[in-house]
Amino acid sequence: MTKKITYAVGALALLFGLWGVYIRLFEGEQSANYGSYIGWGLWVAMYLFLAGLAAGAYMLAAFEYLFNVPQFKGTGKTMLWAALVTLPAGLASIGMDLGHMDRIWKVYLQPNFTSFLALMVWGYTFFLILILISLYLALTQPDKKPMKIVMWIGFVTSILVAGGVGFLLGGNATRLFWHVGLLPVQFPVFAIASGAALMLVIVGRFMPALEEKQRGDLLWLLAIITIATSVAKLYFLFADLTQSLYGGATDNVIAVQSVLTGPYAFMFWGVQIVLGLVLPVLVLAQPKLAKNGFVAGLMGLFLLIGYAAARILIVVPGQVAEMMPGQAEAFSGPKLSLAYTPSLMEWSVTSAVMGFAILGILIGLDYLLGYLARFTEAKK
């Protein structure tokens, strides 16, 4: 039943999203709400979220193929597939954000390697290739040496690309809210946390092949990972916000206040903290509830929503302060605003991306992975 509903949600999301994709491709970016002062909005945030999810899914696949954690046995292919779907989804989200997406090839053929953005495009492309090779090897020779080598390279790459996204923001000395030394350290933690949340959903609701005992043990292990990473995340958050407020730098205080008490307060307290962190941690701390597939899957979903909100709350508040006093009023015109709420078109495009990811993961689980396994078996 849950699966049917999820298929329907994915299909509807994709359908609604096609409208936004059409508008974006043919009408341009005027109906987006990001602008010249807040230049990075929902799509950039969703890129961070989905790329982190891919890195996290890969890290968890390594739990089977590299670290031989018994509870993870039989889940590696699924997580590699999840990474293979979520990474292109993330790249699609950032692709839609480009004013000239037709020129993306220039990043490959005419790159500027002093640009961390260029390095990230190359890094994620390399990571995508590694995921593909890992999945192929997982289907054909999971216990052999090439698989171990590729998985090790992939595991290290997943940490680096996740950390790299943190650097992409953290390296920007102009935006004090982002310019936090530990951001590249935090992002791999966020990645594995979001990977665990995705796995809670998949293992909890969409992997009937797992034995009940293993499912329960795995869910409990994922619950522990979730609790541990949530505590770490909460501490990072507490440290960042209090340090910013105590330091008192105007731009930073404006950004933090927009999160704690300003226009993004509901998203922070309601979605990121209560729905996306406190509630799941409280529920998952109960072994009985954590081992229940439905409950664990639901909490995984809440966690994912919370992590997505957290990405928005890193990207957008970093841009809400004026770069120069009086900037907001100095000149008026469209897209010259320091307020940002995603437009319907932006939500629609994100809906398409999410619909693609949901359907991609489900179709992979239900058909493609089984088909590929049979195909490679027959070839042998």
Binding site: F26, E27, G28, E29, Q30, G35, S36, Y37, G39, W40, D97, L98, G99, H100, M101, R103, I104, K106, V107, Q110, P111, N112, T114, S115, F116, L117, A118, V121, N172, A173, T174, R175, Q319, E322, M323, M324, P325, G326, Q327, E329, A330, F331, G333, P334, K335, L336
Partner: protein, 282 residues
């Protein structure tokens, strides 16, 4: 008559001079002392001579800088408007806004104006982050944007500490104009004028929703296309308070060199190490 009044009478429009000169008659303006470089000749004439002199040198030996005297800026926004007209900037794109701050409480209130072109930083954070080298220093050191190279990622916008970059979303001032046969020509005809930008010495048609510079980040370039032809930037020639100066800082006799070597000159956000080429006299 004071120096200022004489200058205005001599060079400003007749209407403007007629309005303002009588008011300045007999007024002693302290800024125009005998050793003031601005007192020697009209700054526009002088800067124009210096510009011609600089253009005789190889491009790599020039160091264009802009100096803005905040004591002279009256917040008229003429520079903003001139820039828009010169570069045919569409709605939402601005190269040189004037920041206005109200200081003090009534009745002790004053206004502070800060024109903000691109700082043309020598160590520019924006060029470093561009993934395809679409924005870079040209041989004269000016930070330019190659509209045909820019992918529109807006990383440079996020990196600029001065908020000096805006994104072209494809708006037009004239697109909503009504059309009435034989009476009102409407947006389609007006668009030809609106789109006739000569930035970087090229004719940008800017047609449709996707043609560059639509979808690109845009910024002040010190009117390079004018400089090339020996004309000062639009903001400089339009400044009615003679508050904006432009020239070659590698020329020891230039006005800008004289001005930036005085102690009452600052640059914005020096602590970031960006080494701006725009100086403010305070």
């Amino acid at each position: 008559m004071s120096n200022e009044a004489t200058l205005i009478e001599k060079y400003a429009s007749e209407v403007f001079a007629g309005l303002v000169a009588p008011a300045l008659d007999g007024v002693q303006i302290s800024a125009a002392s005998a050793d003031d470089p601005l007192a020697k000749e009209d700054v526009l004439v002088r800067m124009n001579h210096e510009l011609q002199r600089a253009l005789e040198k190889p491009a790599s030996e020039r160091r264009w800088v802009m100096v803005i005297d905040l004591r002279r800026c009256i917040g008229c926004h003429a520079c903003t408007v001139a820039c828009i007209a010169e570069n045919k900037l569409p709605p939402g794109v601005v190269y040189r806004p004037v920041m206005t701050e109200e200081i003090g409480t009534y009745p002790n209130v004053t206004m502070k104006f800060l024109p903000r072109p691109c700082m043309q930083c020598e160590k520019s954070p924006c060029t470093e982050v561009c993934p395809v080298t679409a924005t870079y220093h040209n041989e004269e050191g000016i930070v330019v944007v190659d509209y045909e190279q820019c992918i529109g990622c807006r990383a440079c916008m996020a990196a600029c500490p001065y908020g000096a970059r805006t994104f072209d979303f494809g708006y037009n001032y004239t697109e909503q104009l009504p059309v009435f046969d034989g009476a009102i020509v409407g947006g389609e005809n007006a668009a030809g004028y609106e789109h006739a930008s000569q930035e970087y010495g090229e004719a940008w048609k800017r047609e449709g929703k996707h043609e560059s510079p639509v979808g690109n980040v845009r910024k002040c370039h010190f009117c390079l296309h004018r400089i090339k032809d020996g004309i000062l930037p639009a903001c400089t020639t339009t400044c009615i308070g003679r508050a904006t100066y432009f020239g070659d800082a590698n020329d020891p006799d230039s006005l800008v060199t004289e001005l930036i070597n005085k102690p009452n000159v600052i640059r914005l956000k020096e602590e970031l190490g960006t080494e701006p080429r725009v100086y403010y006299v305070v």
